[in-house]
Symmetry: C2
Subunit: 396 residues, 2 copies
Amino acid sequence: METYTILRDLAIIFISAKICGLLARKCKAPMVVGEIVAGLIIGPCLLGIVEPSQFISYMSEIGVVLIMFSAGLETNLQELKKSGFIAFLIACVGVFIPLVGGGLLYMAIYGFSEFGSDEFFRAVFTGCIMTATSVGITVEVLKELGYLKSRVGQTILSAAIIDDIIGIIVLTFVLGFKDPNSNTLAILGKVGLFLVLTVILGYVIYRIFKVYDEKHVHTRRIPIIAISLCFIMAYAAEKYFGIADITGAYFAGIILCSVRDADYIDRKVNINGYMFFAPMFFAGIGLKTDFSNIDTSMVIFSVGFVAVALLTKIIGCGAVGKLCKFSWMDSLKIGVGMMTRGEVALIITNKGLDMGIIEPSFSTAVISLIIVSSIVTPVLLKFLFTKDKSAAKPIK
Amino acid sequence: METYTILRDLAIIFISAKICGLLARKCKAPMVVGEIVAGLIIGPCLLGIVEPSQFISYMSEIGVVLIMFSAGLETNLQELKKSGFIAFLIACVGVFIPLVGGGLLYMAIYGFSEFGSDEFFRAVFTGCIMTATSVGITVEVLKELGYLKSRVGQTILSAAIIDDIIGIIVLTFVLGFKDPNSNTLAILGKVGLFLVLTVILGYVIYRIFKVYDEKHVHTRRIPIIAISLCFIMAYAAEKYFGIADITGAYFAGIILCSVRDADYIDRKVNINGYMFFAPMFFAGIGLKTDFSNIDTSMVIFSVGFVAVALLTKIIGCGAVGKLCKFSWMDSLKIGVGMMTRGEVALIITNKGLDMGIIEPSFSTAVISLIIVSSIVTPVLLKFLFTKDKSAAKPIK
């Protein structure tokens, strides 16, 4: 690909994402829905004027990493401590119910299978794909509505982060049963080590950065160093600990959320985000979609897959919310906020494809889930938050 | 390459570029020199911790496009009109003298060759590579010093832009003689058409944008639309008219330099530029360098090549500056400012390689020229501007 063709692709993505985003806002839907639809329109699904490319997927990865970093920067640590235990419960149940639901769905369609058989693994793996919430879209919507820093917002955010980690542990177990080479204990140890290191090193980095920041407040180097830290943590999380890069980026944000320039860094990151990288991420989801080779059985499975994946999260997470004394409305918001699936689901699917557990046509169901949840969640969340008169005022 | 490895590369480039940039400033050299050196240090030349990749070259291309767009946005149209004719003269002579100088250098080292022979083409081509000034680095240095909007700054900028176009026309002629398929007249026509279209369409776009901007002043959509316009013009220039993408980006900036939000757009572009893309461009120059397979004859040729390329620009452009009643000091500044070579020289070299006119080892000389000029020009420019007490105050 000639270098200059990327300029054309970027221009088309920026313009279409902006137009569709503004149209979505006119229709009272969140802008990100418009951006995803823009990707569907310009991508192979419809017009085909922009091909998904390695470059676009890199840019969209940077986009979601920056979104999570920004979410971390905007974290209210006091609120997180308060919501931490509840979030942990929500995450656990929010992983368990879809895991079981996905397995049962598979058996309901393809027949019951014995424990330990290949079919049984396929069923469990189907559930596995449903476990990890992709919080990027929810964060963006909560931000747009001004509820990211609310108690519900912080609970969803923490639960989604924890659920990523639990999802990875579950995946590790499942693959561990299937593949004698993968050492479940080692991976569990890695996750533990990552958390411990993040706390210890994170505190050291925070102290050093705080001093440096006070000396060079509001200089260009502050956001550059901050973003570099974010990228390094995102990289290290995935490379050395097998944890999603977005989780690392989020922790980097949390480490810096109490320094004096946290707001300043966040503003700079957001300008880069909204102008360049975030549209690439959202339009990229639409862009990667291709419905060209689909048959009826796949459609039926996909419909079931999407429905079970969405409902199990609402029921599982919502129920725990209600048990933890959230109002019905807030519990529903939590359930809906946890519904989105994204790149982690795709990563798990790829893993399953590589190991021969599932078939390529499976991807259709997963991509459908990502698209439907990406569009339905923002619409529902916006509806719930604006309908709920009792909710606290948005914090913009 | 796994997606997350780009995060590591980005973090290393950002941090090293920033550190070296700050060190360079401590040594009274411009920051861009530090950024280029950072690329040399982390690249295959020295440490080898970052490999040049397609992704990095894309990012650096976006970087130089944004730099040129920003230069266009900061253009003072009145000043440009005043300096236009002089800039044209400087550009013409600044193309002619290096062209002849490069040819003579080749003949001086490899022996005289008859008109029309293969050797003769090689000589002319050597000169051809020397013609196009790469204005990116000079613009950044002038900006850093605060002299971009000065008369000397604007003259250099205009001359460098015009010299790109003349360089392309000369290349077209040279290739036209060599290759019966390339139609010199058609390409000349294309360049003309590009300029005419830019003026006409540019005026229409300017009027529309102006009205839209007044309605939506200081909204996010303004810089997004502006950058998209920049990318589209950069793409169209290279794709349909065979003109460098950076020239298209610069014209896009000029089109928008008089709208109400020009400063606002420029600020947003600059934040993206300095945080993400500009370091990629400057570090990328160092990163792409590899001195591993060099022999003595190549070293001799390279030294001569670099010396002739730098001196012919200083003499050619400086002399015209003096003739046009600039002071000796300002003429020298103009000559030095026109010295840098960059991607256009590489593009022409690649063209020559593809057509079998020159040999692969030639690239060493060209890359040496790019690096030496990229480092020497900023240092000299800063020296000249700070030494010159009579110069107007910098406009920051």
